[in-house]
Symmetry: C2
Subunit: 580 residues, 2 copies
Amino acid sequence: MRASRFFISTLKEAPSDAEIVSHKLMMRAGMIKRLGSGIYTYMPLGLRVIRKVEAIVREEMNKAGAIELLMPLVQPAELWQETGRWDKMGPELMRVKDRHGRDFAIQPTSEEVITDVVRSEIKSYRQLPLNFYHIQTKFRDERRPRFGLMRGREFTMKDAYSFDRDVAGMQVSYQAMFDAYVKIFTRFGLQFRAVAADNGAIGGTGSHEFHVIASTGEDALVYCPTSDYAANMEAAEALPLLVGRAAAAEALAKTATPGKTKCESVAEFLGLPLARTVKSIALTVEKESEGEVTKENWLLLLRGDHELNEVKVSKVAGLSNFRFASEAEILEAYGSVPGYLGPVATKQPVNVVADRTVANMADFVCGANEEGFHYTGVNWGRDLQEPVVADLRNVVEGDASPDGKGVLAIERGIEVGHVFQLGTAYSAAMNATYLDEKGQPAPLQMGCYGIGVTRILGAAIEQNFDDKGIVWPDAIAPFELVLCPMGYDRSELVKLETDRLYAELQAAGVDVIVDDRGLRPGAMFADWELVGVPHRVVIGERGLKEGNLEYQGRRDAEATAVPAAEMVSFITGKLGTPGK
Amino acid sequence: MRASRFFISTLKEAPSDAEIVSHKLMMRAGMIKRLGSGIYTYMPLGLRVIRKVEAIVREEMNKAGAIELLMPLVQPAELWQETGRWDKMGPELMRVKDRHGRDFAIQPTSEEVITDVVRSEIKSYRQLPLNFYHIQTKFRDERRPRFGLMRGREFTMKDAYSFDRDVAGMQVSYQAMFDAYVKIFTRFGLQFRAVAADNGAIGGTGSHEFHVIASTGEDALVYCPTSDYAANMEAAEALPLLVGRAAAAEALAKTATPGKTKCESVAEFLGLPLARTVKSIALTVEKESEGEVTKENWLLLLRGDHELNEVKVSKVAGLSNFRFASEAEILEAYGSVPGYLGPVATKQPVNVVADRTVANMADFVCGANEEGFHYTGVNWGRDLQEPVVADLRNVVEGDASPDGKGVLAIERGIEVGHVFQLGTAYSAAMNATYLDEKGQPAPLQMGCYGIGVTRILGAAIEQNFDDKGIVWPDAIAPFELVLCPMGYDRSELVKLETDRLYAELQAAGVDVIVDDRGLRPGAMFADWELVGVPHRVVIGERGLKEGNLEYQGRRDAEATAVPAAEMVSFITGKLGTPGK
């Protein structure tokens, strides 16, 4: 490619609505252009990156036996009503009526459509397993689109769907996709981590998220550096910090703690470690029976230095649709304003659930259900009933790994892929069956597998940038190499050498762009550093007189002189990227 | 590709709603699957064809200097309001509201968005010319979607947009696109014709349509076999059939023609040739002036054997928004029921426009404005005023070519591409300007260029099929070649030879599929003939014992024995398609 025939348009300043670095850099590098909230035009440079990401995804999906098709964007509401998602999805699902008033969804994913395709195509177990995928535009009407491509409304996703006879088969398909994802993210040249994830509302039997590691990531990833254990924060199991419970040593005492509504301030006021305090979180669960709604009071107990994990809470029996209690409800159940709640002597009956660590505490501090007072020296069995015990908290760095093979570490990540064992959630709702060996209909076992194609761009930048701009990994860079001739239009020597090198590099399969725009060196270098092309060769008269060109990698502090005659093999050596 | 790892699903019968052959064959071959009215899933076989079409389009667009980007599907209404298309487009434009109630269009094309991109990016004449394109899903809410991919609602289109400083520059860009289209359609291996087209409502200065020739095509294409002249029926100029007007030989006479309301029946009744009759077509034009609507009566005169061309009518001065007169309006203006109208002695004043041929007629027959009567022996200048003369009719086979180089022929075509000189229609409405050499703002001169990617599939089939199924041209076939082993799972000899040949063909770059599904020969052959793979090699034990394989082209009546050792070069020789 010649830059004079391409479209390059860089900016000194990012627009003011760009909050995070990848958004700023993509706007400044002219990779994307905002059309509306969460809706972007992919400019020529950005599209080149997308196409490289798509090509790698496609190759590895095909190698893993998945078959590409293309499902429509505009999908009839009837299919979405079959699974109930038409109602469940809320305003995130973009809905549209055609000229006859019929309802359609603009696809956010395509479970319904693929299940409809498969239920009409698959008759027999002999046709299984099958895995279909497409790479297609998606739309989600996010409440607050932001962060450029990280949380856009219109985006590109690869979504694959596997169909198997039984759970064992589904797990084989799932593992094949998991392995393909590892290859895909490795080929991208990104640092990533696969973590076990919660299956969420869909149910099913297993799921993993793939995250690009970045300190700016929205998600906390939990892993054990000395074992294979890895999970996202929602799914990471927290073991009890106290292995056994100490015997009670103190007497129960009501202590004035005026104005101290937080564990931190109570501990400080009482001169106790924070780890001696327990925080009480009041929940309400509404139950409907014979048309009448009744409320249950629940109290969760966490050690003062711990954080609640709401996903774990929702899995406690009886709490699947909990909500936090209102101030009025708290007053009614506990007889106290919030800040002084506790499990001892509540006004109304309360279901108490203690985190595993709290269940093993002794002589702890909690609210006295009276404004301005806490109990100290609280002990299970003596001062209150033994509680229901559950894992309720987020893990923290240094927690024991649930596999017993070390301690946990935490890093930040950006979710770019998700593999999911769906089981029969969709096939049962849509009556998608096959005939088994005995000729009996059985529901298809499904898996679904997504990669956020356009999101990869943002995530790759969040992981790879410096103060000059983006630093693309070779495999997904818009160009692998830029040739920067010093005086292409002035020096015959430079022009000849540039053209020769350009032709030879192209013949060697290098994705190279020549900057023949006639910019001054400073502006030219700044453009390509901002755009993030990973390799640069400068062709100058001075060097050429000694037979040399200058090579500089995007992360190199200095340029290296390389004999002109060796440059092509030097570059192809540099580009020997893994998996290519 | 191995058929056992691919998805092939053919049908014996086409669904009843498939009206035309391409729709029937694509459904039967399992290339597309209907999701809703005019909305299809592209199944794996169909998607392969689409990808090949896209790749050829992309390569030639890039070679012609166009730059690929990707514009959003969901586009803010504000841009569409700037050009007035939000109101003008009617229900064909699919409109959608987001969660905040803001209006969006699902793109049918992207003139507004690209003009918005360019007006913010282009400052100076130095940045011009530019040509951007994308290949993207489009949606048009057709009133009556039908014919499979020929008139779908969701479809894929390549749309390109050029931006130039002046008309001369735009014409250069236009010619480059025209030339690229010729290369693209040639590479597809389709018979096609580029015809001059009418510019329609947008105005502008020129346009051509590219049609795939097919006897089932919706459009009539006019061309001169002995010159370069070619136009669609709307745009093809009709010269006067009578070069000079004969002198009047008959007297004007009112003649009873009871019940004869058509030229054909009048001519038969009077024993005259149809070419002596003139048909009168009454129009009404409403004009608003100072809030008052007045009606004008217009009468168009065509020779009895000719057809009206409404596009030509709309270009006659005063007739840009004509409509056909109602029966009441006719009675009021002419004093007669329809079927007996004529230009002589009308009840109210009427503007008469005669087709070029009618203007040169003498002693002709026309209605007498009295039920059951016609005039015969009518002559211009004597019996009525000389008329306004215009080209009002469709050309017919044998008409003189407007370039004076032969006579016209007519064939049927399917429109698959359109190039269009837009001029400043969009740039003026959206204030998209650049600064010229003097620093003065000037509007950008635009062109737009479309190719209906998915429509190509339907058109290619309408041109290339037989009673067994589709016959794809090599360049866009889902696979170039199918290997049909006779007993792949039973004969070690056949398996070894099949695997060897498959590996060698792949290494030679042939897009080959092996049918390893274990079907019987008849079913296997029928599948691939229906799917339309253009080349087939049968590997059988009997032939192999003599060192031979059987080759058969999709249009060949018989198979040919080819020595196994020569098959790879035989096939690569066959695939030496033009432009590849």
